[in-house]
Amino acid sequence: MGARNVGAVVKRVEDPRFVTGHGRYTDDIVLPGMLEMAFVRSSEAHAVVKSLDTSAARAVPGVVAVWTIADLGAIAQKPMVQSYPSPAIKQNFTQHPLAKDEVCYVGEAIAVVIAQNRYIAEDAAHLVTVDYESLPHAIDVREAARADAIPAHRGAQSNIAATVAWKFGDAAGAIARAPHVIRETYRQHRGAPHSIEGRGVIAQHEPAADQLTLWSSTQSPFLVRRYLAQYLEREEAGIRVIAPDVGGGFGPKAGHYPEELVAALVAMKLGRPVKWIEDRREHFLTTTQQRDQWWDVEVACEPNGKVLALRAKCIHDNGAYLPYGLLLCMTSIVPFPGPYAIPAVEVTLDCVFTNAVPTSPIRGAGRPCAAFIMERTMDSVARTLGLDRADVRRANFVRRDQFPYETGGRLPTGVTIQYDSGDYAACLDMVMKSSAYTAFEAKRAQAAKSGRWIGMGIASYNEDTGLPPYEGATVKVLPSGRISVELGSCSQGQGLETIVAQIAADQFDVDPEKVIVKTGDTAISAIALSTVGSRVAATAGPSVHLAATQVRDKALRLAALQLEAAEQDLEITRGAVHIKGVAERKVTLGELAKRLVSNVNVPLPNGFTPGLEATAYHTPERPVYANGSNVAQAEVDIETGAVTLLDYRVAHDCGTLINPMLVEGQIVGGVVHGIGNALYEHMKYDPDSGQPVTTNFGDYLLPIATEIPPIRLEHMESPSPLNPLGVKGAGEGGTIPGIACIVSAVEDALKPLGVKLNEYPLSPERLLELIDEKRSAK
């Protein structure tokens, strides 16, 4: 056998098509007779649509139809299906594919124009006049959470969708008895997703077979099919959803959207394929985001920095609807207490409706928010008690000898929360060493001499990755001898095709580039769910491994028969089974595969089922926990409030590395997402009008190359005992601690002024305000 592929830096198999411009994204697909759609969207934060005049739009040459909800038929009069329903939801609102009469955020779709092309469709959409009766709106989440608040939905009792709690141990008792109790208020805001490819969908209906096909820029073709089937009251078998190449996802492409339903309904009604491609403005207005959370936190600790309890209350801006149920809310509270052994936790969260675009998980979901609270807490404990920030973390970490470690928490399903493996303190040591942590004070003193304000930040985290229940995989040896892997799960850039090719290749000693990988299509028979929550490498990965192992075993069994040898005397080299040490006594995998498809009146070998193939599901009961620690260095210009990041170090443990280069890409990309959240990205709404005011890349800033410091990464590998590859997820591990780490560094730079940073994003304006407050008080 040649070198193992798992663990090696293998260049990506998807790259040749991407670097040459031959990727196939949704907008690249053109079907014969295809029409294009544009939407008429609400210009009001909250209003009743009294009437609509579509006559001018309909008169535009090239316009095929202009439809409202009434035109979409009886089936479309109900609200959309909720992705993660929960009994905790007290008031439930999901939107309609097109607004019925009330619109609850700017951007909500009211009507659809279907035309020969997008240019004509947009022209006509502008000619539709909408007569609104404005309603008062709720946009500030703290105001909206009040009992006497203006309702975001007409006739609602309040704006509280649900109140959820996360609790174990006796936090109240510990807080009452503790020698030190620290109280802080925090504000968080994570902004919009902004994959560079927006959303997009094509729908086609073949009436003869009554078959509906959607191409959608989605993370979850199987879930989109499920929700479409439920909504359209059709069998899933009559719907095929394909995720072609997807230009980034980051969470918000994991659900289903009104435009997908409208496309399906229009294609069925017109009998012609239709396409809708989101533009950037629509992405700002309609793709789910993560906005404000306000936290009140109480922490009880001992003089040595050991945290005894954390009690917190969060007000969460969920926007106008609950498309994902309480998923984002739950991921904001369930991660407590992160990598620390804290005996008592009590977190409650109010999920609040506002008249802003709905929210959903974005890279890390609520986990970066929980990590921000935990990490700012560790820093505030250090500050209050005069301890070193790293020492406080070390004093609280779950220790190596405690794994598997039960936090005391239980998931809603009743499963205990259990951290499977790791060495949190060793990971921290690693990053302290690489960042020369202990030498920083001398560096700061040196910088201060020349009037520079530099600081160092630190943050640790752990993350539940590889979330249950499964992602299926089918591995086949084709008659040609090539290996094929089929997965319903799909990639939005993570390199899934490469890692599954590596895993499968190892069982047959073939080149990963030669493995044929198909992903992201509900026509694939292995069942899949969704590429979210850093889960696919640690769910689909082991499934591919299991399926490949089964195929390998079957090949060996058959080869033993054909070569008249014992199985244990056989091995597989370069895609052929041979007797160990006798390369010429061999049978190729292709020959074995042909034997198992056989032909009419040629019986299969005794005891064999057809096909040299297997489908397998790795079905974990609980997640596997990745972890890491980060150290950042930042400089603040106290005259302008500008932050320059000087250095960023990561020590990271996601179990067995399948491909270190790809893990590094995930972590670095995630850190930069965190930098955006910490310093730049702010989706702003005008409180008076409820209008979004950052709706282009001039007003809303994404991180750009010049603002990014060198990011250096070190890996630790604590294999998970919970899957056969020992792998854990890595897709969000950069973002989760990233925000807290940068805020910690900026605060540290301003330490001589005593500026406390309990919020992000840290715009220069906001930092100057805080700096000036302290300077004028001096």
């Binding site: 790259d15 980034g248 850039g493 670095v668 282009n696 190359a705 010049t706």
Partner: protein
Amino acid sequence: MSDRRTIEVTVNGVRHTREVETRLTLGDFLRHELGLTGTHIGCEHGVCGACTIHLDGAAARSCILFAVQAHGCEITTVEGLAKSDGTLHAVQQAFRDHHGLQCGFCTPGMQMTITAFLAENSSPSEKEVREAISGNLCRCTGYQGIVAAALDAAQKLRGA
């Protein structure tokens, strides 16, 4: 609404004569009229750089140009970077070698920006590379692999 003109453009060495609407953007012309879908549209307002092509040798954003403005011009798109025998351009090869791409959506624009930049500055510093791509947004990679790719490609192109 439909004011039309005939334009002549050379794209990746092939000459095309087409009648187009005057309001058709160059990006849409390349993608939808010529089927060159490697040029991506990420923002339609000139900020993300995904739509970058070469117009008479200089990097340009095809989403904020009209097709008629390219009349008489030579255009290169990402599809024109590799040799006709399929050998990748040094920048393309370096993107793969240094993991300079994930979803691939920003990639064509990044590569077109970098190839134009390296033609003007054959031995850039890391800082210069970062400045050169500061008008191209990538949400996936954090830019680190892209910068490494550009520096490596520069070296290869210098024959070093």
